[in-house]
Amino acid sequence: MSILQKIKNTVRSRSIHVAYVDVGSCNGCDIEVLACLAPRYDIEQYGIYVHNNPREADVLLVIGSVTPQWVDKLREIWDKIPDPKVAVAIGNCPISGCVYARRGTLTSPPAEKYIPIAAQVPGCPPRPTEILNAILSVAPLIFKDYEEKQP
């Protein structure tokens, strides 16, 4: 790997753009993602920037237990994100459906059915530190040698 590629990788992993999509959550996990932005956790000091525009994003945070309205839209949003990209499931709902995974409910978890999920952060809700750690641990994987991997 050339030294230039190394510098590119390092710089890119310090500039991660995150979009989040709420596919039917109770707002518990949304609040924890919001807390990541607040001064106490200060997500930007790690080079992570939150957007709501999938076209700018590298990481998609999926929150919520996939209500019927989101079944096709989740895939559409995922397709809009340019490569390289990963999705992280935040909270129990996108992982297993948690308390909504009962007979008679309208939700259809897990989110993995619709888009590929690279990492899961279980918790109801997970702590901001756990969300941060998950994003930081998938970030190097997205950008690592991306250009060399290209066909």
Binding site: T10, R14, Y41, D42, Q45, Y46, G47, N92, I95, S96, C98, V99, A101, R102, Q120, P122, G123, C124, R127, P128, T129, E130, L132, N133, L136
Partner: protein
């Protein structure tokens, strides 16, 4: 040209480089009081299943048979970290954050019992429930097909043309009676009440 020099000067400042490449604080540590997923303390599990019964999240906890006893297993994708199983366990098998310390200090506990209810409109007085009940059979082996028993110690018996519940407190919640009843007339409900330890003994 001036702007390029300006940019280079801006981005080559040591302070800017330090801020860009190094975070001010390492990702924060989880505080000790934080309620995480229940973990095992090493105490012996008696397979009373109180933890499974109080858990509000489907499939979050299962008490599994291991080579030398029983052990509760938590499934993080389902567990909502409410900590109810930690509080409900009478043996202190599970722990999570400071829940055990707080319950010990405040002297609180979950007190649970089973409530039996027979719907007289549905019941046809066959006595299946009284005969199938394993506790009943142990107390009064004489209990025959009729479900009538002369013992006052049984949980329930057919008496005066209807099922009478005598000793609800002896029920172990196995639900055998519920499955044996052809009319779904008998219901076993687990009741849970939060109590101060002093009260629970009264």
């Amino acid at each position: 040209m001036r702007s390029i020099i300006y940019y280079l000067r801006e981005f080559l400042r040591p302070e800017w480089i330090r801020k860009f490449f190094f975070a001010k604080t390492a990702p924060l540590e989880t505080p000790s009081y934080f309620k995480g997923y229940p973990t095992l303390t090493g105490n012996e599990c008696t397979a009373c299943l109180s933890c499974m019964m109080i858990c509000p999240a489907p499939k979050a906890i299962a008490v599994l048979r291991t080579r030398d006893g029983w052990e509760p297993e938590i499934y993080p994708g389902h567990c909502i970290r409410c900590g109810l199983c930690v509080e409900a366990c009478p043996e202190g098998v599970l722990s999570s954050g400071r829940i055990l310390d707080v319950t010990r200090r405040d002297g609180t506990a979950f007190w649970s019992w089973y409530h039996l209810q027979v719907d007289d409109n549905l019941c046809m007085r066959c006595g299946n429930c009284c005969v199938s009940c394993p506790v009943n059979r142990e107390i009064d082996p004489q209990l025959a097909g009729s479900g009538t028993s002369s013992s006052d110690e049984v949980i329930m018996r057919v008496e005066g043309g209807r099922v009478r519940i005598l000793h609800e407190e002896k029920c172990t919640g196995c639900k055998t009676c519920e499955t044996q009843c052809p009319n779904r007339a008998i219901r076993v409900a687990r009741m849970v009440e939060g109590v101060q330890i002093g009260e629970a003994e009264v």
